[in-house]
Symmetry: C2
Subunit: 319 residues, 2 copies
Amino acid sequence: MLSLDDVRDAATRLEGVAHRTPVLTSTTLDDLAGARVFLKAENFQRVGAFKFRGAYNVISRLSAAELERGVVAWSSGNHAQAVALAARMLGAPATIVMPSDAPESKVAATRGYGAEVSFYDRYTGDREALGRTLAEERGLTIIPPYEHYGIMAGQGTAALELLDEVGELDELRVPVGGGGLIAGSATAAKGLYPDIRMLGVEPEAGNDTQLSLAAGERVQIEVPRTIADGQGSEIPGELTFGINRRLVDGIDLVTDDEIVQAMAFAFDRLKITLEPSGATALASTMFRGPQKPGRRVGVILSGGNVGLARFRELTAPRD
Amino acid sequence: MLSLDDVRDAATRLEGVAHRTPVLTSTTLDDLAGARVFLKAENFQRVGAFKFRGAYNVISRLSAAELERGVVAWSSGNHAQAVALAARMLGAPATIVMPSDAPESKVAATRGYGAEVSFYDRYTGDREALGRTLAEERGLTIIPPYEHYGIMAGQGTAALELLDEVGELDELRVPVGGGGLIAGSATAAKGLYPDIRMLGVEPEAGNDTQLSLAAGERVQIEVPRTIADGQGSEIPGELTFGINRRLVDGIDLVTDDEIVQAMAFAFDRLKITLEPSGATALASTMFRGPQKPGRRVGVILSGGNVGLARFRELTAPRD
């Protein structure tokens, strides 16, 4: 499984490699939440999101021969750039499978980190099949976005750093997509402080983990329609859910409108850029905070890769 | 005059009171500038701008009797909120003179810090006359935005912190309005490293300090038309210019379009919010960096109080 020591070991590997991101506070936010809130700002992480932590942790454990053959991942999001950058830093060639209609900016960013981009047709192709074929033909190691204990251990270092900096917390709020960030974070947090309350945050339309926790088994949902594109999973991971069913105490759901309000608050008051998924745990804290002023709440702001044009679209005034 | 020791003394007063703001770096920016760039992020300062440093330094030196009578300032910008917050923290009543048509958000923010707002009519009134009358009638101490050595010493702590954190720099780029921030910064920087190049940055339309440095005396210009509303001075301060004529090595002018591009870069790549004046030294570094890759350049990002609606206006795509 996964232990606090695995997260600590990942932290050692990431030292001096990943950014130790700042912890932000805001008295206005404290008033809204009715609590003392500590924000772990992973939008300042390399590639603009926590994903770098897990990717680097896994790739740094590969053998010299595996590094030489290279790695492959399929993603059009932050995981793609995380794998590309981590591979380059470790001297491994990276191949990223992306849809042929992926935004030019994402393709360019991934290539900018030195990765080769392999395209598939979103309507007729199967990216996982293409990725697995490439892996087999070229001997590449597959780097999954969350279904891997090394990925989860890496992501958990965000929570470990937060707790190391601010000390014990009563509660930790973490965005949930496939479940890797919260699995690693919960392992670290409950390993240090068994009584900490782990609250996952999902977009209202993408509540696969909430339903799965209620059912006691993994539940599949329709492809979620939400602006939180980093949390569009249809079913929790098998490995991540195995951890999360034990360690996650509850799920809060946030609406797209609440997410946009949290992004605007982050821009105006915190002076930072958050992508929709990066703002879900903040939204949860703003709109459904504990309202117990002595309580100490940690919040993971998971990423900031929204892009100005998309941010303008999302924050356009509506009648 | 003003010495490095004055800035150090201000730093002692500000310890644990002002935020020690982070220093950000970006390899993309380094490539654009052809230099190693260190960004001092004063958008994360209390009230969202460096102005808090000077206001607190001056108010903290008042006598118990002066504090009890209170302070007064005239400003509709960051100085207003800086004085309001610093006064509240020190237990002094604050009166801020603002135009009666000032944006409700600024009035509310200033009142939110506990200040009394006195309105004047922008077209028929004289804010300075009103402020001086209030000062005389009620025995209030006037807190000027830059014409005061205590203000300059406080602002200079931003540069002092930056140099303390990153060590010697070849160059420091600082936004110039009335000249208080750069006067304090240059005093600190040249006090520590006499060979450092101090480059002021003004909006193209608001080049009163550039013209004054060229003429060897203070030159008055028309009210500048620029989006950089924190740098709309028509003439340098007498005290600030006395320092800047000795310590400032040059002025770079940035256009409004360059400022907007720097704000967009800050949003997309640095993941931070900058107001137009807060982005001028960044714009200068992006568009006219040293292009000497070994060079170490400090840049002060002076504030982040732009507001989402205004940011959307400024970054709207144009044909």
